[in-house]
Amino acid sequence: MTGFIHWLAWIPLLPLCAAIITGVMALARKSERAAPFITIAATLISLFISAAVLARFLGGTTQNHLEVSFHWLQAGRFSINLGVDLTHLAALMAVLVGLVSSLVQIYSIGYMHGDGGYGRYFAYLALFTASMLGLVVANNLFQLYVCWELVGICSYLLIGFWFHKKSAADAAKKAFVVTRFGDVGFMLGVLILSSFTGSFSYNQVEQTLSKVAIGAIQPPFFSPATFLAVAALLLFAGAVGKSAQFPLHIWLPDAMEGPTPVSALIHAATMVAAGVYMVARLYPIFLLSSFALGVIAWIGAITAFIAATIAIVQTDIKKVLAYSTVSQLGYMMIGLGVGGYVAGVFHLATHAMFKALLFLAAGSVIHAMGTNDLREMGGLHRKMPITSLTCLAGILALAGFPGFAGFWSKDEVLGVALSNGQTLIFVIGVLSAGITAFYSLRLWLMAFSGRPRSASAEHAHEAPAVMTIPLIILAIGALFGGLMNFPHPFIGSLLNPAEHEQINLVAMGLSTAVGLTGLAWAWLLYAKPEMAQDPVERMPVSLYRTFANLWGVDAFFTNGVARWALNIGRMVAWFDRHVVDGAVNGAAWMCGASGRTLRRFTNGQAQFYAAVMIVAILLAVWLVLGAMQPPNLTAAAPTRWAVTTTLGGRAR
């Protein structure tokens, strides 16, 4: 174990080195063909290290975490460490990130083949992997925050990867700006916690806060309960932005402008799960405030429901998946919010696999078709059987079909909600599960069954092996991901041996029934060879309009928040232009004006200088003599007086 621990730092550092090397190569436009091999090798090695750590934990070692850290800098009373702290949760997450990242990179060799930014793409991916792993293994809030922003930057760079497309550049900006709303709260939370506890370290922050909870330490300004709720909710604000929770979920569907493998890695499996991971990693802090947990559960429920309903009416294959991602992230938040720590993380793990699979399958379809529009697809099952079957595995996992990965994890989340008495949230969750089943099967049937609805669908062909092999690996994950926690609770015993979650048969039965109803309904509506009109368009028009208008959240931001912010911005700009700039320009103008006035005196005329000199001397003499107030200055004796004054006492 002692020698092993030195390898831990390489988990984030190896992809970082790969990112630097490939980044330089991409800048120099040299040997870009080699870039994926460097980044994939680095990711695989770090995956291997984290898998070895996870295997040790599963093997039942007594250690509950492996930590290396070094003192980085001292700023006043703050000492900041950088380090790697692999808890059970972090090891699990690191393995997930490494696995999905390496599969996505392998897939990208095929998908991005021939793209102008080939080397740049892999450099970004490696940078993302490094920052995500840095976030996962962080042992303090400071490193967490830095990596948090780094993954945000990578997301920005990759959404706007095809920046010559205006929609992609806009989507990148939108993602960056919208997540900033949450990140402000997150930063405030980090600052409040660190300045209150005097440390950035997770352990110390958690210890101090637990003392606050029992009343041993009194927080400033607030009562202990309020303080804990405020701190937890500020941290959660970051998760709302990053994990696309209501009302900041609006950036994620637009983020689909990026290359599809990026959507799979960043906007489905890993980065958007960072918010969920953060809540799970700092769960001791959230556990101290039941109010904060309630807010988390409700935000999760609202997100899960709204996003699922929007997904029904989407016709862009990636948009459907994007809204389903938002919805599933809502489920994870429900799990964490109702006290199902293991359930939330379990759903995160299974979702990472089947959603990455779905996106990669969608990428394969888009690669073959050249379009995202479901209405132009159809009949692809015969043209691309591997993609179709693996996609079906992902769809059934997402829909919660019995036996597939999503079935176990989603039911565990719902079961915890029910047994912890959150009935309303449970009902919303079950409803959303039904809707999820409906839209996911709708997606598959529209794309793969029936007859081709366009020329490109007729001439589609299967993707190369470099793309299908990752699909098959992930499909195995989607099929058997449930084994992570059932029948033997590997994750449960790993993360929280105390949380013995029984299978809640009521919850499982209900959600399965509703899910199967959704599937059956979709089958009835969509399993036809011909489809003149999308059947969802026949639903009540007010409902359809609500869903298609995204529940008005986007409109609220563009017409409300954005306009408001713009007006404030204009006011500030006016103040800046006229008052601040006015002061600066005024000072410059005054200097110029005094210069222009004074230069008239320097006219080069020696006689003028002489005259000024004489006048000045006379003036000085007059002033000096006037100040002396001569006692006997009479008209008759001016010279006498002048002589006595100038020569002093000697003349008297």
Binding site: F601, T602, N603, G604, Q605, A606, A610, T639, R640, V643
Partner: protein, 102 residues
């Protein structure tokens, strides 16, 4: 009016004439002549004070000698300058020599 006042009046008049010349003449040589007049007014002052107030002292005479020497040096340098100005500008109008204006 005693003797000293007479001397000083003469010297003041002489100084004023010289100053007037310095400030108003456009010809550089006339300007130089004005300066000479002003120096001589100062010399007259020295001698007047010596004559009326400090007859036992020799310092005023020494000052006057120095003053005459300075006047001579000044004339020499001034004329040399004027000669060079004439070569450069083609005339010796002081109002033309204003290249160092701001």
């Amino acid at each position: 009016m005693n003797g000293l006042d007479g001397y000083l009046t003469i010297s003041a008049l002489l100084f004023a004439v010289g100053l007037y010349g310095v400030l108003t003449r456009r010809n550089a040589i006339a300007l130089l002549m004005g300066v000479e007049l002003m120096i001589n007014a100062a010399n007259i002052n020295f001698l007047a004070f010596w004559r009326c107030l400090y007859f036992n002292s020799s310092e005023p005479q020494i000052f006057v000698l120095i003053g005459i020497t300075i006047a001579a040096a000044e004339a020499a340098i001034g004329l040399a300058l004027i000669l060079n100005v004439y070569r450069d500008f083609g005339n010796i109008e002081v109002s033309h020599i204003n290249e160092l204006n701001g």
